[in-house]
Symmetry: C2
Subunit: 338 residues, 2 copies
Amino acid sequence: MKRKVTIRDVAEHVGVHHSTVSRALSPSKRDKISPAVVKKVEEAADELGYFPNIVASSLKQNRSFTVGVLIPDLTNPLFPPMIRGIQDTGEAAGYTVITANTDDEQDKELNALRIMRGRAIEGMIITTARREDRIVDECIANDIPFVLVNRTVDQDGISAVIVDDDHGVRSVLDHLVGLGHKRIAHVSGPQHASTGFGRAQAFTQCMTAHDLQGDLIEPADKYSIEEGRRAFTRLFARDKKLTAVVAANDLLALGCIDATKELGLRVPENISITGYDDIQFVDRMSPALTTVQVPKYEMGALATQKLLDMIAGDDSSASIVRMQPRLVVRESTAAASA
Amino acid sequence: MKRKVTIRDVAEHVGVHHSTVSRALSPSKRDKISPAVVKKVEEAADELGYFPNIVASSLKQNRSFTVGVLIPDLTNPLFPPMIRGIQDTGEAAGYTVITANTDDEQDKELNALRIMRGRAIEGMIITTARREDRIVDECIANDIPFVLVNRTVDQDGISAVIVDDDHGVRSVLDHLVGLGHKRIAHVSGPQHASTGFGRAQAFTQCMTAHDLQGDLIEPADKYSIEEGRRAFTRLFARDKKLTAVVAANDLLALGCIDATKELGLRVPENISITGYDDIQFVDRMSPALTTVQVPKYEMGALATQKLLDMIAGDDSSASIVRMQPRLVVRESTAAASA
DNA sequence: CTGAAAGCGCTTACAG
DNA sequence: CTGAAAGCGCTTACAG
């Protein structure tokens, strides 16, 4: 590689000290330098193709301008928009984001955190939290600022941006009950995740509020299409008369739909199915999925802003932001069959 | 945050010079230090909770164990699997990958490259190449190793992992012609991208080989659903008798399908439509898309392996790998209507 | 095998 | 407003 242009090259070119160049190029220190010099420095920097060595700057300032992100799997469509929100917000503030796929395995999570600490990340965005989470504990123990997204932990005093699942599940159930459904089941997500746990709780409560039986719940171990397929199959074996299924997320709902096809059922004619998240393209499927739309990009963006504020010391208070999701009615739900 | 333990703290604790600690902790230099000292240093490092400051190490060595990746947009479903292939391969070799979304804008590409160079990336994976590409030029000018993925440039002597579009387009046209289609149009992708250009060329050639008119081509400026919709609308205004459309990628094909619905046409009864890439969930749409399946994960993984070899100096030869795509016939194509 | 020194490219407290 | 100096935490060529 060619030798890089440094601040000293620029200084020499302009005929000032390199510290002057540093100040002229720093937005916050620029006002201490005469406009004429600033101009000359900027021109020289442009001409020479100078750009700062962030590694050197990091070392000196003891800041890395890097944040780490933990996600289960990038190819799960829930995450790309979230990551985009995180990246856009981070980059706008001069931060670089490093993301790691953990496949929901603890070993991978721990390993990723180690690597990130070696890179002196200034904070973490965590989308992989279990209700009791070792990564969260490690961050606390090591004074690493972090914000949880989508999934939160049971303990208090942490910051998170999550979805108001009571609201989301209630809107689904109001819709279904309004359509005349009574025998409604739930395919729940992993109970170690706050989403799986919270939605199942909300399901039971809302069913009870509607004076319906809220215990027809079949658990899925993972948020995946395959697990959804299996859960529906078990559900149908338990109760052939159910007319609607509330799945804990879209992937699970897609699996349920697959299972209905195998069983010769039609959606929504014989059975209504709902999802949660509104991931990309579920609006184009056959049938288009009725689901709860979650503001993925915004959650990522908001969490990152919070994290940056924490890092800057502008905000030390823990806060839980609960985003309001919105029911989107499409083709997978219809009036209950007789 | 707590003050970090440095190499000097460890040195003091053991009673040696800090350079000795550095050597004792470096796998490649360890053999120059007496085993007894190595042991004492390791114990002290453990006891004090020392882990190396990679930022300082990077600055000194001018190596970062980081590679940069340029993609247009993470929320375009073509990219998550590719990125996963890149990350998995990079991480297995101890590298961290930084990705930037450029939205296909030159300014953002240049800016991202700057930031990455500031972070001393050791190489680049580029999925955003135009046929003449400034980023590629900059990488060459600055001796930054790079590998292109999916899209390549016109010039020789670079390394890339791309798709064999002659093969892909031919398999689509053979399928369509076998179904009795004669009036076949092409919605082409951006001509500044090798994919858009190459697929359009292949289209014309294959049509000619089938003794058919290969000039019914309507260009799309971007790979997006909306552009596909517009292109199809223009196409149909030009020729109401066409019976099949080969879109340059899946997003464009989805736009075409949207347009057919607006125009009161049915797919595949009135018109057949094909995509390219086989992005997630096009198999579940209505109609399920007939498309060309591209090995996205493998392309990312292969390109990264090549890049790592180049960085290690094990492989300085430029090479173009052309992956063989595979036609997947689903519901959006059928026999030509009379 | 180990130490002492120099330096990677920046930033910033201290002078003037 | 600008300069000169010190130093962030490492690595490594040079001595011994």
